[in-house]
Subunit: 208 residues, 2 copies
DNA sequence: TGTGTCCATATTTGGGGAGT
DNA sequence: ACTCCCCAAATATGGACACA
């Protein structure tokens, strides 16, 4: 890639070698960087310099530490999941959300965001539902059977929990009609934060 | 470096993104390889694929494990020049649901399935909520190390450490991907693996 | 020793199409 | 989903020299 072609073998001249090392290392990192950006990938690189100082150069998106961490964690997950996979009898198979580690949502803040996003999905699903129901001539037209089925489904309002389910959920949280009630003696101890968020969440998951 | 110049920003078209990822990943490893040879350096690279399969590709001369090991042992004694790429995404990052192509759910059958799964997720969210509310101390207390990690992670995509879009999210599913093999100075043979299990659900998603 | 600059040439890679 | 091929256009980088 230069004015001259060079054999891909160790560069003997110390001087040239260092210069080349410097240039190519930069090039490597740049490549990694653009790859990260273009494909939204995560890359970690560790380079041990051949120089006397033996400096270590690293590149990380995100940090190398996190990537190494994830690297090892993934290996674990893989084996775990792989094992489970064999014992999976249902045709459904595992879907990613089966493996969400909810303990990661260790703050209302995080949960709140998840919930907000789910709301978004919900809306989209409903839109799609509408499309399917209202002349779905654009997409693969459902068979007459399916059509019937759709209508049935619709009346059931299958998308989100049934009223019963909703009640169960609310009860579960011992939360009741919070929106209007002023307070719950029992739960007073709970932080106000929780209460508010609670409210929000219920509202989102509620039927609309 | 192609027939056309492309902006260095996330490639939106999934298809192109994957192709580019494939090409550039190979290019990156090749660069690393020649650099190793030319300058007698030691390089380790970990690349998390943005694809649904979440393959993890690694390059190591010598093995990635040894390099990581050496990396940590050397950190204290040698200067480390690090280049940390800042995440280009907004703080929220892309989440899988941002890229769902709902037009793929062209039948009640499929939509129904999505819905069922989402319900599951919802339930889990609620459970987590419950845990948070009922004394956060009850939930499995993270180790000190993990705690620190969590805090660090928080500034980034809260959902998953270093996971920013659907592809990445699917990662958590992460399975079947053979523990990366190490490759010496040459690109490793990418494993073709992978299960059908995911295929099913993935086909519904179109991260364009 | 480690980088930056210039210039000409060696490589890489986007597009498009195809195969596994 | 991931590779490979072809080809042209976009980059990367030797070699030489300069700077800190």
């Amino acid at each position: 890639m230069g004015k001259r072609r060079i054999a891909i073998e160790k560069i003997e001249k110390r001087e040239s070698r260092n210069v080349t090392f410097c240039k190519r290392r930069q090039g490597l990192f740049k490549k990694a960087s653009t790859l990260c950006t273009l494909c939204n990938a995560n890359i970690g690189i560790i380079v041990f310099s051949p120089s006397a100082k033996n400096n270590v150069y690293t590149f990380g998106n995100p940090s190398v530490d996190k990537l190494i961490d994830r690297f090892y964690n993934n290996q674990n997950n893989n084996s775990v999941v792989a094992v489970e996979e064999e014992s999976s009898e249902n045709e459904r198979g595992f879907l990613w959300w089966d493996n969400i580690d909810f303990s990661n949502f260790d703050s209302m803040e995080k949960l709140k965001r998840l919930e907000t996003d789910l709301m978004d999905v919900k809306q989209k699903v409903q839109n799609q539902l509408e499309k399917l129901i209202n002349g779905s001539s654009s997409s693969p037209p459902p068979s007459p059977e399916e059509r019937v089925k759709e209508e049935e489904e619709e009346s059931e309002c299958w998308l989100w929990p049934s009223v019963e389910d909703m009640d169960a959920l609310l009860n579960n949280f011992d939360y009741g009609e919070q929106p209007t009630s002023l307070c719950k003696e029992e739960n007073q101890q709970d932080s106000y934060d929780d209460q508010e968020l609670f409210f929000d969440i219920n509202q989102y998951f509620n039927y609309s």
